[in-house]
């Protein structure tokens, strides 16, 4: 199996110009992941965990030992299946979507880099390589979001995403340091084996570690307060939005918490924090999603909201359910994004839903897949979203750590979800065509085929629920989470979802007057939501403006009168000195070599005599 992993990495690293090669690399990776899956299925459940394949013993330095190794267990294989599977479909789709882009090959190689980084992240067997993958994923997403480098907003969005992610990275690195201090190892197997013996629940070290890891998870998965990068990240090409911001990257945070479930079970306080933030993010993002007009932004907010659900699930200890929702969400959200991309492609780049309309007849395949995606998103009975989301909502009440507060957040969000997803649906596909200049057309088959595959998966994946939970259970302490039956709660959720849909129907399908009336009535609320609760402005107000103000003050008082004089004098002297020194900078290789050897001599002198 070591070879298996190696061939896998090699396959993904293989960057070629042609989309075909890029796709086949990811396809091959998928097959390998599938092979690993069947291998694991053949083992007894108890034997399935902790297959660490050491590829190369990398660094051994005193107590610190680092292997280049991969971890193969149900959780990592499960994530690999999703990443490579959905990734493959999206690669095929981008062949069509990016077809006329002059920098097609650059795009494909970034996409491959992303899949590779993500695989490193999930297959890492220790925290070190987790961080390596984590940072690589951040880099790949930076490159992809900023892909339209001539667009200023895209570059800014990419930078924002990168900075937010780096906040998370710092949390991760410090967490790894604390883990190494406490456990003397960075290896998952060692750490997870030692943790329950060494620490009582809620002891300081565990709380610190889990909290620091949480910072990383929140940044990557766009949870409050580190969420602002995700909607802006929609500046990237649509396949990127689908790949990164729906199916894979943002789920890394959920994966991280699920992976460290042993640690988190020791820290109930942190668990409560996760669940609370998850629930609040869910409802928060859903309300913002109600009023946005950019089709991709709405879906982005819905992604945040669904991620909130996942965090809620892992926060109440239902790790398996969180992962299950992660899977179904990957399917239907990638489906939604790709359908939206198909719409945008068909409308020649138009993203404003107010200018769309009447696309049902023109783009039937996209219409059907978008419908399936939306139904799945709102948890319509028997679609995949129904099984995973419903289970989470009911667990929010019934699970040992659940309570009515979490349930309330979840269930209200379900209603809002129904409203906003059908709002864009009605806007885009129903009604009359609003922009007479647009000439929408159906997308080529290379784009619709992935849509159909994902639609099919979104419909049937729900039935796999029990199998998934059972497959993952060895990682989470060996028990399958109990299935809660509660017809009443389920009924409430469904009713609320339906109410949302019907409200959207009533509002947007009838006449514009009524929309206007409601909008006017709720104007202040609408404004707040449209401005995304002024979070960006808050950041600006509390962080950027004070910094600027301090800067201005210093500039006027201290700078002009005090420092400038000194600085001018210093500058003069420095200039004189540096003119002398620049003689040294002769540009001659040999002189540089002389200096280098001189430095080496000094260092060695220190080492030898000290």
């Amino acid at each position: 199996m070591g070879f298996l992993a190696l061939s896998f990495l090699g396959a993904v690293l293989d960057k070629k110009q042609v989309g075909l090669v890029a796709c086949s690399a990811v396809g091959l990776a998928f097959l390998v992941a599938f092979w690993a899956l069947t291998d694991l299925m053949n083992l007894e459940p108890a034997e399935r965990i902790g297959h660490v394949e050491v590829l190369y013993p990398w660094i051994t330095s005193g107590k610190f030992h680092l292997d280049l190794s991969v971890l193969i267990d149900p959780l990592s294989v499960f994530m690999l299946m999703i990443i490579t599977g959905v990734g493959f479909v999206i690669h095929v789709y981008s062949i069509g979507y990016m077809n006329d882009d002059p920098e097609y090959s650059r795009f494909m190689s970034y996409m491959n880099l992303f899949i590779f980084s993500m695989s490193v992240l999930v297959m890492a067997a220790d925290f070190f390589f987790l961080i390596v993958g984590w940072a690589l994923v951040g880099l790949a997403s930076y490159l992809l979001i900023g892909f339209y480098s001539e667009k200023r907003s895209a570059v800014l969005a990419a930078r924002k995403a990168f900075v937010m992610n780096v906040i998370g990275d710092v949390g991760m690195v410090v967490a790894a340091y604390v883990i190494f201090q406490n456990f003397g190892s960075l290896n998952y197997v060692d750490v997870f084996a030692k943790a329950p013996e060494m620490y009582l629940p809620n002891s300081d070290a565990i709380l610190l570690i889990t909290f620091l890891l949480l910072v990383g998870a929140f940044a990557k998965s766009a949870q409050i307060p580190l969420h602002t990068w995700l909607p802006d990240a929609m500046e990237g090409p649509t396949p990127v939005s689908a790949l990164i911001h729906a199916a894979t990257m943002v789920t890394a945070g959920v994966y991280l918490i699920a992976r460290c479930s042993v640690l988190y079970e020791l820290a109930p306080y942190t668990m409560y924090l996760i669940a609370t933030v998850g629930g609040i993010t869910a409802i928060f993002a859903a309300t913002i999603g109600l009023v946005q007009n950019d089709i991709k932004r709405v879906i982005a907010y819905s992604t945040m909201s669904q991620l909130g659900y996942m965090f809620l699930a892992v926060g109440i200890g239902m790790f398996g359910l969180g992962m299950f929702h992660l899977m179904t969400h990957a399917f239907f959200k990638a489906l939604l994004f790709l359908s939206a991309g198909s719409v945008i492609h068909g409308m020649s780049g138009e993203q404003d839903i107010r200018k769309m309309g009447g696309l049902m007849a023109i783009m039937p395949l996209t219409f059907i897949s978008f419908l399936i995606g939306s139904l799945s998103l709102i948890g319509f009975p028997l679609t995949s979203g129904y099984f995973s989301k419903e289970a989470i909502i009911i667990s929010a009440w019934h699970a040992p750590m659940g309570n009515i507060f979490f349930w309330g957040l979840a269930v209200v969000t379900a209603g809002l979800t129904g409203f906003y997803s059908f709002r864009i649906f009605f806007f885009a596909f129903m009604g009359k065509q609003k922009d007479p200049n647009a000439h929408p057309h159906e997308s080529p088959v290379v784009m619709t085929l992935p849509l159909m595959i994902l639609a099919f998966l979104s419909l049937i994946a729900g039935g796999l629920g029990h199998d998934v939970l059972e497959f993952l259970s060895p990682v989470f302490g060996g028990h399958v989470p109990p299935h809660h039956e509660d017809g009443l709660l389920e009924g409430i959720t469904l009713t609320l979802g339906a109410v949302g849909v019907i409200a959207a129907l009533g509002l947007y399908l009838t006449d514009e007057e009524r929309v206007k009336f409601v909008k006017d009535m709720l104007l202040p609320v609408h404004e707040i939501l449209y401005r995304k609760y002024y979070i960006d402005e808050l950041y600006d107000f509390f962080l950027v403006q004070p910094t600027k103000a301090i800067g201005k003050f210093l500039e006027e008082k201290a700078e002009r009168q005090g420092i400038d004089f000194v600085v001018d004098q210093v500058a003069e002297k420095v200039k004189e000195t540096s003119e002398g020194l620049s003689q040294w900078q002769s540009g001659k290789v040999r002189v540089y070599a002389l200096n280098m050897v001189g430095g080496a001599v000094m260092i060695l002198m220190f080492l030898v005599f000290y």
Binding site: Y56, L594, V601, V608
Partner: protein
């Protein structure tokens, strides 16, 4: 008796290596430098042989004394073996010499420290002689050190691509930026 002969050979070869390397840097003409370098490498190959590393010795001869030095000679033939003029004006040579003397002294000091916490491996002289140097290295290289090996091959590939780029697309003459 055998031991003394062995020690003598080692000493002679080692001192020849040092002398040859001095030859490399004092000859004014690059062609002589190259010949001395071949001599130095052959001596090192002999030392490898005496120190129980037959495979590395063979590689040393083939890769260094063979391929790399032939390349050097080609380039010298191509560019012409002009003698270079010494620079007499600058501080470069005295500075360099004093640094190197310091460096050498420090290295000698470091040698006197002795072993610190050595980790003994399993490949004793007897063992290697039993299975053969090439075989022992091969087994190690293709099992424990497979990834560095693959990376080295990737490096060679990259170098090949690099020189093709250099050879195929000649650079335009350097224009100095005026300040």
């Amino acid at each position: 008796m055998l031991d003394i002969a062995y020690e003598t050979v080692v000493a002679v070869v080692g001192i020849t290596a040092i002398l040859a390397s001095i030859g490399v840097i004092v000859c004014a003409s690059p062609i002589y430098s190259a010949l001395y370098l071949i001599g130095n490498m052959t001596c090192l190959a002999l030392l490898f042989l005496l120190y129980n590393a037959e495979f590395i010795a063979a590689v040393q001869i083939i890769v260094y004394a063979g391929a790399v030095m032939i390349l050097f000679l080609f380039i010298i033939a191509l560019l012409g073996a002009k003698k270079e003029e010494r620079d007499t004006s600058s501080l470069q040579i005295p500075m360099a010499l004093s640094f190197v003397v310091l460096l050498f002294g420090e290295l000698l000091m470091a040698m006197t420290v002795g072993k610190t916490n050595p980790v003994e491996g399993k490949f004793s002289v007897d063992f290697i002689q039993q299975v053969g140097s090439a075989r022992a290295i091969g087994v190690e290289l293709f099992s424990r050190h497979l990834i560095p090996f693959e990376l080295a091959s990737a490096l060679l590939l990259v170098a090949t691509v690099g020189i093709i780029c250099l050879a195929k697309f000649p650079l335009s003459p350097v224009k100095r930026r005026t300040r």
